[in-house]
């Protein structure tokens, strides 16, 4: 029987995984493995970090050093590890809860500092693991388990937040655009500095069934794709025109010194306190 060529990157004995059939987070794990394989990522020097939630379980299945189990603190963990040993390759897998709700403050500051880690955000627009409550990313006028009369809060744009705060690589794709998304992860893995790749992803079980009234993963993908618009340059997108759609694209890739600590001898003499 043929073995999936990416199976060698999985932690022995960790399957079967716990993702629901049709889960977008599991798709993103697949994209990550394809990208890692392409850039020949050394899993012996990889630290994969997840907080709490469905996406946060991805590191559990990867055959590398991994941290898991506290909601929202993926970036501080990564920062401690990375500042002590800059040679570690550190990749965070965060849901929209980890990244933009409980961990939102850390995201702002990791972007500002240009911390040299990769953050892959699976934005399934809901709190999936806890049963489908509204998230800071849930679009308006959708019924969820915690908004029985429809969402009234304006949703967060995670990529805009990261870009405004200074992240040096920012892309957003969706699970309906796997090829572009995989390319973005590959670029992020080779980028030095804070990289954020967001995937708008379907959650058939707890977003689809509740907000979209369909638990069919295919319909979830189609809904995301119909509500997406691709942009070369997000700064040129007229937000009034997009009418609540997800703007997809590779938005930023620039070079800036990475963070090495808050107190660096000689920092005031002009090298911004970072490794050039």
């Amino acid at each position: 029987m043929a073995v999936n060529p990416l199976a060698k990157y999985l932690r022995p004995g960790s399957l079967p995984h716990f993702f629901c059939p049709g889960c977008g987070a599991a798709q993103v794990m697949n994209y990550f493995l394809q990208a890692a394989d392409r850039v020949k990522l050394d899993f012996g020097e990889l630290v994969a970090i997840g907080g709490v939630g469905c996406t946060a379980r991805i590191p559990v299945y990867l055959n590398c050093d991994a941290l898991h189990g506290v909601h929202g603190r993926t970036l501080p963990w990564a920062m401690g590890a990375k500042l002590h040993n800059p040679d570690l390759k550190t990749v965070i897998f965060a849901g929209d809860g980890d990244a933009a709700a409980i961990g939102g403050n850390h995201l702002i500051h990791a972007s500002r500092r240009n911390l040299d880690v990769v953050m892959i955000v699976v934005n399934n627009l809901t709190f999936g693991m806890t049963g489908g409550q509204a998230a800071p990313t849930t679009p308006r006028d959708l019924r969820t388990m915690s908004t029985p009369f429809g969402t009234v809060e304006a949703p967060f744009d995670i990529c805009q937040l990261a870009m405004t705060s200074g992240a040096t690589l920012v892309s957003r794709w969706s699970t309906a655009r796997g090829r572009e998304g995989t390319d973005a992860i590959a670029r992020a893995l080779e980028h030095e500095g804070f990289s954020l790749v967001e995937f708008v992803a379907q959650c058939p079980t707890n977003f689809g069934r509740r907000a979209l009234r369909s638990g069919d993963p295919w319909q979830g993908l189609q809904w995301i794709d119909e509500h997406s618009v691709t942009a070369r340059d997000v700064s040129k997108v007229d937000l009034k025109d997009i009418n609540g759609r997800f703007v997809l694209g590779d938005f930023v890739q620039e070079h800036r010194p990475v963070f090495t600590g808050s107190s660096v001898v000689g920092a005031s003499r002009g090298h911004e306190g970072g490794r050039a």
Binding site: G13, V47, G80
Partner: protein, 367 residues
């Protein structure tokens, strides 16, 4: 030297090479001194965006091989409980200094004594040391790092406004004279290493991130391989070991200092800076012919039960001295129940006891 500076020098002497903290009075001098000193010795100083960032950066750095520390004060210590709980569950050594203060005001207190022990959710044991002087802030910080590495657990140094902002003489021993415990790392290759396999009540070796051992560190209940497992037997065994590694070594972890206990009829029990006026009061009582003694607990968690029982057995009264509404006194009552009557003299008004106040309590207790 300033007490807060002594903490820094003690940490550096112990090999600390990572510090993360968020500004808060009266712990600021620890961060500020670290910011200057750590880069000089090749370490990393991080000013986190909050206390949560600080405690998790400390555990992340420790996982990567650092000897890591944070310092905060009571209000900030609240925020760190989540990260302390994670460090306990995932067995990550680190040192936390809590300079206790009164609800946003920088007055003297020992009000966090129970939070040090019980602040984090879930089952856990913690090691907490209670220095009473600038010298002990140095010495106990060194000891905290050693205990953290030996038992793979967070260790808390219970500081107080009184000693943190006090200047006293400090003798820093030659580096060779300072006992340092380093991390026990696996002696077998990755393919033969079982990350969380250990004898009951012991700690497994600890490979650093990136060393090729590919360990999953999860807060969730995990089996010997580190795999997340909901199995009541796995859970029970894991927490029996994580708590047992502290409680079963109570005798070698705990320390208490004895003064005039040989013939003491009344034994004062105290900890931290309260040990200073308590000793003065004992000496004054003896001048009045009252046979008083002092048992000063240098380790407050786990409770030095053997030392307390021994003191209770040979005295006719115990008097707990503490600077809060009376918290640790309950522990002393629990341990000494049936051996010796326990009374308490507490002070909860932002100031340390005077020796006179304690002496009056001694007089009342022996009437």
């Amino acid at each position: 030297m300033l007490g807060n500076y002594a903490v820094v020098e003690g940490a550096l002497a112990a090999g600390c090479d990572f510090f993360a903290g968020y500004p808060i009075t009266p712990a600021n001098e620890i961060s500020e001194h670290m910011a200057r000193r750590l880069p000089e010795v090749g370490g990393v100083f991080l000013q986190g965006e909050d206390e949560l960032c600080s405690i998790y950066a400390v555990t992340g750095a420790s996982l990567a091989g650092a000897k890591a520390m944070t310092a905060t004060a009571s209000a900030g210590f609240n925020y760190m409980q989540e990260g302390i709980g994670y460090a306990v569950a995932s067995e990550i050594p680190c040192v936390i200094v809590d300079v206790q203060r009164c609800r946003g005001e920088n007055f003297a207190t020992q009000a966090d004594v129970m939070q040090m022990r019980w602040g984090a959710s879930g089952d856990h044991e913690l090691i907490v040391l209670a220095p009473s002087s600038v010298q002990e802030l140095f010495d106990f910080t060194v000891k905290a790092f050693n205990l953290a590495e030996e038992y793979r657990t967070p260790v808390i140094v219970m500081s107080e406004t009184t000693i943190a902002l006090m200047r006293e003489n400090l003798v820093i021993p030659h580096q060779e004279a300072i006992h340092i415990v380093d991390r026990r790392t696996p002696q077998v290759p990755p393919e033969r290493f079982v990350p969380f396999e250990a004898q009951p009540n012991t700690t497994p070796p600890f490979p650093v991130l990136g060393a090729g051992y590919r360990v999953l560190h999860s807060l969730n209940p995990h089996d010997d391989q580190g795999g997340i497992a909901w199995d009541p037997d796995v859970y029970e065994k894991l927490y029996a070991r994580i708590t047992g590694k502290i409680t079963r070594h109570r005798g070698s972890i705990t320390e208490a200092e004895e003064h005039h206990l040989d013939d003491a009829e009344i034994v004062l029990v105290t900890y931290g800076s309260e040990g200073r006026p308590a000793l003065d009061a004992v000496l004054a009582a003896r001048e009045e012919g009252i046979k008083a003694g002092l048992l000063r607990l240098l380790t407050i968690w786990p409770v030095p039960e053997e030392q307390l029982v021994a003191a209770a057995k040979r005295s006719s009264a115990m008097l707990v001295v503490e600077m809060n509404i009376g918290k640790y006194a309950g522990e002393v009552e629990r341990v000494c129940s049936g051996l010796s009557p326990v009374s308490r003299v507490t002070k909860n008004r932002g100031a340390i006891h005077t020796a006179t106040e304690i002496l009056e309590a001694i007089r009342e207790a022996v009437v």
